[in-house]
């Protein structure tokens, strides 16, 4: 295994594209280093992208925020602007691992690992976030939901790197939230994860909604029926029940060591209802309520 730490995105892409053997991007490394030790995955080349200045930044863009690929969960959590605009996305990113993991793990890494249980991805999908992908043939913008194609599989072509994620500008009276279920209070992989983003009109009627559902299928799902259950309603109890039913109906989970099909299916609905209630409260209050308050 070789280690390279290029200074520019272009040289990182060139290294990645030019490696005849296997190559891996090292951002936070919290998944990659575990894989290195598991015997299945010592690649020929590891490309550390943390020396690339342009990827370290969080920048305002068109009323939204662009998050660089090497921004850690801790750095994201300390950024007031992103937290105010997208509290659900930030709380999802902050749920990835322990304090120690937060010091390293990145949201882009979480996306590119393509785990169906990735915490930040349901929230990013609900936020309609867009990944900026740079490769040998240039740069393209891709909806985050199109990055993962299956467990551990992505749509990225050889040599392509996700350089940043754009969280778009959002209208007034919007709110988002992310909830996951884990058996402990920390240090677990989501058994179910739900991200909800919604917008209200002046009369409190929901005009737009997106619901992302994690750990219940081979990839994180965008559940349009769940969004439809909210849109046009005041997000009353009946709407929340329809939302829950839609989320449970969308589940295609497996039985594994972390949960059963029955459990995941039911809890997806429960969490969707609870997350929507938090998102609603945030939309109504006009600003983020305390993240991580819902312990």
């Amino acid at each position: 295994m070789r280690y390279e730490a290029p200074r520019t995105l272009e040289s990182a892409v060139a290294l990645l594209a030019g490696e005849p053997g296997s190559a891996q991007i090292l951002a936070g490394g919290t998944d990659l280093l575990v894989r290195l030790k598991s015997d299945i995955g010592e690649p020929d080349l590891v490309i550390d992208i943390k020396r690339i200045e342009a990827m370290k930044a969080i920048t305002a863009e068109d009323g939204g925020w662009r998050i660089g690929a090497t921004v850690s969960g801790a750095e994201l959590g300390e950024h007031d602007g992103v937290g105010a605009a997208w509290p659900g996305v930030v709380e999802a990113a902050e749920l990835i691992g322990s304090t120690q993991i937060q010091g390293r793990a990145t949201m882009v890494g979480n996306l590119c690992n393509a785990s169906p249980a990735a915490d930040s991805v349901p929230a990013l999908i609900a936020a309609e976030a867009v990944a900026r992908v740079t490769g040998p043939d240039g740069t393209r913008d891709v909806a985050v939901g199109e990055i993962a194609t299956g467990p551990g599989q992505t749509s990225l072509a050889k040599g392509e790197i996700v350089a940043s994620i754009l969280l778009p500008a959002r209208p007034a009276r919007s709110g988002d939230a992310y909830l996951r279920f884990i058996p402990r209070t920390e240090m677990d992989i989501a058994v179910v994860g739900v991200g909800v983003s919604l917008t209200l009109d002046a009369s409190g009627i929901c005009t737009a909604a997106r619901v992302g559902l994690g750990a219940v299928a081979a990839t994180v799902l965008l559940v349009e029926a769940a969004a439809a259950a909210l849109i046009g309603t005041a997000i009353d109890e009946a709407a929340l029940e329809r939302l829950a039913a839609a989320c449970s109906a969308a589940c295609k989970p497996i039985d594994d060591k972390r949960g059963t099909i029955e459990f995941r299916t039911k809890v997806a609905g429960v969490l969707a209802r609870r997350a929507a209630a938090i998102a609603l409260a945030r939309a109504l209050s006009g600003h983020s309520t305390a993240r991580k308050a819902e312990k």
Binding site: V34, K37, S98, Q100, T185, K295
Partner: protein, 158 residues
Amino acid sequence: MTQIHVSTTINGDAVEFLCEAQETLLDVLRDRLGLTGAKEGCGTGDCGACSVTLDKRLVCSCLVLGAEVEGREITTIEGMADGEILHPLQQKFLEHAALQCGICTPGILVAAKALLEKNPDPTETETRYWLAGNLCRCTGYDKIIRAVMDAAEQMRGA
């Protein structure tokens, strides 16, 4: 195998070492530099026994490559006391009997110090969540939490 030359700062001292690409910072600290205070309890970032700070950020040294720390600043448990004067956290851990076997203690002290530098007045809940990545199997955490809260109070008064 060609080794990588790394220049870094550990506990305030300039340090140079050679390592292989796949070696972790924990391997380097323990096996190449003789700094065995950081422990390997899992090797996968799940136990926190190898906690150090990297540019003041709390990390698991088992999830950092040695090659990554070129030009960075690392602090370990060996850098916590000031000569013969213990850090207030170290002193409070002794007074509260906040360790039994002591294997998790270096990681927990490093993590607790990082907490108090960021938040000098943490609640019990904040302390528990901050330390959730540091497993302790002996104490049930009670005396650890009390020691951290007590050290925080003393440091605020100082």
